[in-house]
């Protein structure tokens, strides 16, 4: 990892109009930077806007406001050859390995689609070699190339999705909950594969997930989102050792640990969150978390807290730390 910034997200906003005078603020004023070769984990409950954020970063959604700069260029203003080149460098892996692969195409065609579009293979022989190379890389073999997607299990499908993304030699990948649809034993396989590929090819990952334990394992830095805004961002070690935001603390203490004795100890200290995530449609002003926060004060309803650096790049958006 070096200090070269590959993706710079500045005050990104993405609103959806869901009816007359109803605005769903999926991503509201989110800023972060991604360095080359690093993995940033983006975590939060469902409906907090993490997937929307990932997709907007790749230009799959148009933005409402703010900027996404990829190597200094605005992703949403790119045109023609520039955009074509960006699409080769930035790839996405989707959550649902069943819905994201075309059932009418063979595996080799799925993997080769990017190769064909970006003309990465000079002839048929090279194309085949490339397909086999990438299938091999993700732990599939030659015999799988001519099969259709329905013949594969969930874990294998996710591997096909990874092979497809890798085939265009990307630099930056958005992984949108790549493991949440898989079994525990298969999750470990895919995560190991992702880490191995990152080391070998120097990839940069934006890892979107709701499973904090897996995020801790794979990420260098972690950003916690709640209802469209970022509440905390820091290195993964720091986040787990010294969480600052009440939401992060609650989230961490809700994760079950496969150890009966540790669980019994945690029982007393566990921070329980009551209720559900409120609706992101026309949210009230102030801190989004105030309704579920036990430290909520008057100022929390009046002013939206801003991300503030507490030292060593550990940023938190909470009025508790604003004295």
């Amino acid at each position: 990892m070096n200090n070269h910034v590959i993706l710079d997200v500045q005050n990104l906003k993405k609103y959806f109009q869901v009816g007359k005078n109803l605005t769903l603020k999926a991503v509201d004023d989110v800023s972060f930077q991604l360095h080359e070769g690093e993995t940033l984990g983006l975590v939060g409950e469902s409906g907090c806007g993490k997937t929307t954020c990932g997709r907007t970063c790749l230009g799959l959604y148009s933005r409402t406001d703010g900027k996404v700069l990829y190597k200094g260029q605005d992703v949403h203003l790119m045109k023609g050859a520039e955009k074509f080149a960006f699409k080769k460098e930035a790839q996405m892996i989707f959550q649902d390995p069943y819905a994201s692969l075309n059932p009418r195409m063979t595996v080799s065609d799925i993997v080769a689609e990017g190769i064909d579009i970006h003309k990465l293979a000079a002839n048929k022989k090279e194309r085949d070699e490339k397909i086999f190379h990438y299938l091999n890389l993700v732990g599939l073999n030659k015999e799988h190339a001519n099969r259709f997607v329905h013949e594969f299990s969930g874990g294998q499908r996710q591997r096909i999705g990874i092979a497809r993304a890798l085939a265009v030699e990307p630099k930056f990948m958005v992984l949108d909950e790549p493991i949440s649809a898989l079994d525990v034993s298969i999750q470990a396989q895919i995560v190991n594969l992702l880490i191995k590929l990152q080391k070998e090819m120097g990839l940069t990952y934006l890892f979107v997930a709701h499973d904090l334990s897996m995020v801790k394992h794979i990420s260098d830095r972690v950003a916690v989102m709640y209802l469209g805004s970022m509440v905390e961002i820091t290195t993964s070690e720091e986040l787990y050792e010294n969480p600052l935001h009440p939401y992060t603390k609650a989230l961490l203490s809700a994760i079950p640990i496969p150890d009966p004795d540790v669980e019994l100890q945690r029982e007393q200290t566990r921070i329980k969150l009551e209720g559900d995530v409120p609706s992101p449609i026309n949210p009230a002003p102030g801190c989004r978390f105030k309704g579920r926060c036990k430290y909520a004060k008057a100022i929390c309803s009046e002013q939206t807290p801003q991300l503030k650096d507490m030292g060593n790049g550990h940023c938190v958006a909470c009025h508790l730390y604003n004295q």
Binding site: M214, A254, D259, D276, V277
Partner: protein
């Protein structure tokens, strides 16, 4: 404590175009009164089919519960129940919570009515102020609101008049639990109740199930693929793999002294928050075997790091380690190598 439920040599197959899928291949376990046990395994290992069999929900055809299987509820084989006995048992004596609450609830009925339906079906009388009176629809509705309050749904009176699509994911799961508990069943099966939910909501739902289990002295069978979820709920754990039980025992034995390579691998595959090391996760290579043609020997042999010749030839018998802890693995055979195995193979006596 007496045994509430005994499952003996349960074998279930599905007949498909491709052939006979042997989903459950000889499963034996029991549940005591007021006890919580967990069945853990990957998808496709037959845990949900086991649950459905216990509830009498296997549709034949294509499903078939093989001759010789027994499911004894208080000593009576439910497989021999007639229609009337079955409908009393299912819903009245036992209840099930499914993973996908939106699919399991009726979208055309209000949540309150769905609870009332269950009450009217199974109960003739109800206790009001300590007196037993005949159950009427109005009383049933009051009871339904009480149930919704019990599972922690705010504004229960209004919420009872709403439809499932107006509920959030966690609330739907709570509504399911309210329906399941309406007739005060003796046995509750929770089939992956929290898999579709966020961690914070998962913690809420697990707490709720645990509280109700203690309050009403219900036996719970918790079915899940996540060992973390069961750590602080279940007293005993059954680990299933491709239609077989590979290991069973007390929660502490399973977590601290696993005796089967599959259980060990499952425990190692989960990244833990409380551990700092960032080494490679221990993954289980390969995929579970095809149940159309299950392997001859140990079902785990194809993925096992410690596979020996005999593992591919013959299925291992269960070795007893005392205190109800059993594992089916050839490594525990006196002739098996004792080095390089992930667990101590000696029989433990305490």
């Amino acid at each position: 404590m007496s045994k509430l439920l005994e499952v003996k040599n349960l074998r279930v197959s599905y007949h498909t175009y491709a052939g006979e899928v042997q989903s459950v291949r000889g499963v034996t376990f029991d549940v005591e009164e007021g006890e919580a046990i967990a069945i853990v395994g990957e998808s496709g290992c037959g845990k949900s089919v086991t649950a459905k069999s216990i509830m009498g929900l296997i549709k034949t055809p294509p499903g078939e519960i093989k001759a010789g299987s027994e499911i004894l509820y208080r000593g009576e084989n439910i497989l021999n129940y007639d229609k009337k006995q079955m409908s009393h048992y299912r819903g009245g004596e036992s209840a099930i919570i499914f993973q996908d609450a939106l699919a399991a609830l009726n979208p055309t009925m209000t949540v309150g009515k769905q609870i009332v339906e269950n009450l009217m079906m199974h109960r003739k009388t109800i206790m009001v102020d300590g007196k037993e009176v005949k159950l009427t629809k109005r009383l049933a509705m009051q009871e339904a609101v009480k149930m919704l309050k019990m599972v922690g749904i705010p504004n229960a009176e209004q919420r009872a008049k709403q439809y499932p699509h107006e509920y959030s994911g966690g609330m739907r799961q709570r509504a399911m639990i309210a329906i399941a508990f309406a007739c005060q069943p003796k046995l509750l099966i929770a089939d992956e109740p929290t898999t579709a939910l966020d961690v914070t909501i998962q913690a809420q739902i697990m707490d709720l199930i645990k509280d109700l289990q203690k309050q009403l002295n219900t036996s719970v069978i918790l079915i899940t693929h996540d060992l973390g979820v069961v750590a602080n709920v279940a007293k005993r754990i059954v680990v299933m793999y491709s239609g077989n039980i590979v290991e069973r025992g007390n929660a502490r034995d399973i977590f601290y002294h696993p005796k089967h390579p599959y259980t060990c691998a499952l425990l190692e595959a989960v990244p833990r928050l409380d551990l700092k090391n960032k080494q490679e996760l221990a993954s289980i290579e390969g995929t579970p075997p095809d149940l159309l043609a299950p392997p001859k020997g140990c079902p785990f042999s194809t993925r096992c790091k410690y596979c020996m010749e005999i593992c591919c030839e013959q299925a291992p018998a269960a070795t007893d380690f005392g205190d109800g802890h059993e594992a089916a693995c050839w490594l525990h055979h006196p002739l098996a190598p004792k080095d390089d195995v992930p667990f101590k193979t000696e029989v433990r006596h305490e």
